[in-house]
């Protein structure tokens, strides 16, 4: 019993630290894409560790917590992908310059094919 409690508190602390670091990256980063990178991945890991910690503290609730973790694993990358696509459509410039833009090249080639 005691070992489950210790593992649960360690996971709870780890999850809270990762949630805080994700929000700190969201506050500090220079443009939209880096903010997505910091804010979404770190807080996904933080939320997963946090809920797993509560599941270790209350083992009866483990089933529904695992359902929530699976849902977060599917839903969080999807929503960050949708926001990144919307930011690209809004013509947000990346912070670094001179890099290739694969999505824009693909859209241009599709337009050319439609015209031909």
């Amino acid at each position: 019993m005691e070992i489950l409690k210790i593992i649960g508190y360690i996971l709870l602390l780890l999850g809270a630290v990762f949630l805080f670091l994700g929000a700190l990256g969201l506050y500090r980063m220079p443009d939209v894409y880096t903010r997505l990178q910091a804010g979404t991945k770190a807080s996904t890991l933080g939320a997963m560790a946090f809920m797993l910690g509560v599941g270790f503290l209350q083992p009866d609730w483990m089933v529904k917590i695992i359902i929530m973790i699976v849902f977060l694993t599917i839903a969080n990358p999807l929503s960050s992908h949708a926001i990144a696509r919307a930011a690209h459509k809004l013509k947000q410039k990346p912070y670094t310059k001179g890099e290739a833009d694969a999505l824009e090249e693909a859209e241009l080639s599709i337009e050319k094919e439609n015209q031909a």
Partner: protein, 86 residues
């Protein structure tokens, strides 16, 4: 010892929520605000799960699950609207 760890956890999550709120108010473009909203909704889901443990109510887990689903749908709708696809 338990109460100390729970206090540290709550303070860290509250500081993260305040940083997300600052980004939500400041954010130069609408996409920044959408990112901040996404991050804050994940943090609030975690707080619901922690409250379920603190008050020993199993039903609060269901509240957290429904909040996560609705937040996901809201973010998808906002992103599609910003794409001019709605």
């Amino acid at each position: 010892m338990d109460e100390g760890i729970l206090t540290i956890v709550l303070v860290l999550i509250l500081a993260g929520l305040i940083l997300g709120l600052i980004r939500f108010i400041k954010g130069p473009s609408a996409a920044d605000r959408a990112v901040a909203l996404d991050n804050m909704s994940i943090s609030i889901t975690s707080v619901f799960v922690l409250l379920a443990f603190l008050f020993e109510r199993y039903i609060y887990i269901d509240v957290a699950l429904i909040y996560a689903v609705l937040g996901f749908i809201g973010i998808i709708v906002v992103a599609r609207y910003l794409e001019r696809a709605l």
